[in-house]
Symmetry: C2
Subunit: 306 residues, 2 copies
């Protein structure tokens, strides 16, 4: 790692194999990432609301901490949570990270959450000389397992540079996209694009199937032209096989789209494609929330759309 | 070309370099395709509503016909028109193709048009022992110039097989997708997918720009993940450069989406993504109809969306 020229003016915490790294949130994504840390020889302290979910990590060498205040003693703490309200509680509650961490601690949140919340946390952290990064990821469970995530980082660049040797264990594409909140904004732009693309892709398939077309042939033809997308290439074959497992959960996609809608309304943007996708997924949420995003198709099939 | 086993029972017209090929519609797309025919040594008779647009082809060796009835004497006639009403007139009017063509003539329509109209034409043609194919294309002006179009063919497969030696001059991917109308249905499925994808892509960019993100960096990051699409890869760089030229005209995209909406309503499908895209483009049509489909972004920028 190259020493940042600005880092002299910012006292940075030591990151070595003897100083514990704190980790909160050991779900599907978090678990894979902690395993990368352990494999690289780091000492990892973990905390999770449900201890049971952390068991495999404890067996792999991680150490259990029974409270966020304990975890907060680490030089660097990563969080990978579910919803914005989880982020708010873990960071801002009286028993949370900001109230208990030392000055110069680095807090890095991988959760896809609200840009405005990321800014609020960064502001309150700065008042205590604590560093924060909002660093949502893209690439799903597979990217986490294989350490090939894209990581979109908002916050001070010198902080990102300081923890880069750790982040490279998780991701292949790690980019500083701007100040606090910019990581979340980038993820929102990403999700807005996916929303329109997936909705269009599924509607096109619904139309094609209803028109009685030879689906594999038509999808092959369409997928090689101007309608090509990651969603079409990855979801259409699974849909044809009737496989609607996640991948990326509908319940999380709905959460992301709701944040995107709130943020776009604050910007006075009227994003009709996003609204249409959100409405379609919200209608399906209670029935297929635990399926992958292409599971909307199976919901439609049940809803007399055929 | 392999002789189709079924062709013995169907008397097929001779296609050689001495028998004129008829061509109606010499706009941007048609012109490029006729040039391929001339280059391959075919004798081509052309007709166009505006003769002036055919002049470059006449200079290149095509022969002018002053009426559709004249063109209808060819063994095979291709049409590449603008709107469904043009297709209806050229095929079904008293001075049109069906009224004037001989039995066993092949009529192949490249226009993106209504599936139901393609079926109607096929039915009336069959009553006169005339063969028809609906064969809309994908790949735009570039694909037409380079002979790399995707061609989605509905109609009898033995007719497609008979004219395959000509179609390979125009396209790289030529697929029989079903009976009369199936070519148009395939194109509609394609356009429905593009509608959602383009809308999502443009909305994501609008959000990102409004959030003050570093656009080239963010688009590079987003474009390498699950939001990747042909539209993002091809349109985003042009948008960043302020280049909104077609490519594919907004006015034609609106026509296609309107057909798709009508057809999906006939199927009792409620395609909200398509509706959102159509509404967004219809709002912009009068101002930016002659721009490329990514020109919606320039319309938004003028509309105080910033």
């Amino acid at each position: 790692m190259t020493q940042s020229t600005t880092s002299n003016t910012h006292p940075m915490p030591i990151l070595d194999h003897h100083s514990p790294i704190g980790w909160i949130g050991t779900g599907v994504m978090g678990k894979s990432l902690v395993l990368h840390l352990l494999k690289a020889g780091y000492c990892v302290h973990v905390y999770n609301r449900t201890k049971q979910k952390a068991e495999p990590l404890l067996q792999a060498g991680a150490q259990w901490c029974s409270s966020i205040a304990d975890i907060a003693q680490s030089n660097i703490i990563f969080t990978m949570l579910g919803f914005p309200q989880d982020v708010e509680e873990v960071y801002l509650a009286p028993h949370g990270l900001l109230a208990n961490a030392k000055p110069n601690t680095i807090l890095c949140d991988f959760t896809t959450s609200e840009p405005s919340l990321a800014c609020k946390i960064a502001q309150e952290a700065a008042a205590k000389a604590i560093y924060t990064l909002d660093a949502p990821v893209s690439g799903g469970d597979k990217g986490a397992r294989e350490g090939t995530l894209a990581i979109m980082v908002g916050g001070p660049n010198f902080v990102l540079e300081h923890i880069q040797p750790i982040l490279v264990l998780f991701g292949r594409k790690i980019l500083h996209v701007g100040p606090a909140g910019a990581g979340q904004h980038t993820k929102m732009a990403n999700q807005i694009m996916i929303a329109g693309t997936v909705l269009g892709m599924l509607e096109g398939m619904l139309y094609a199937e209803h028109a009685g077309l030879d689906m594999p042939k038509v999808l092959d033809l369409i997928g090689s032209g101007a309608a090509a997308s990651w969603s079409l290439a990855n979801y259409a074959p699974r849909i044809l096989q009737g496989d609607f497992q996640p991948g990326f959960f509908i319940k999380h996609f709905v959460k992301d789209m709701k944040i995107a809608q709130q943020e776009s309304q604050k910007m006075h943007l009227d994003l009709q494609g996003l609204m249409a996708a959100l409405a379609a997924y919200e209608e399906a949420l209670s029935e297929v929330g635990n399926l992958g995003v292409h599971g909307l198709y199976s919901f439609w099939k049940k809803q007399d759309k055929f």
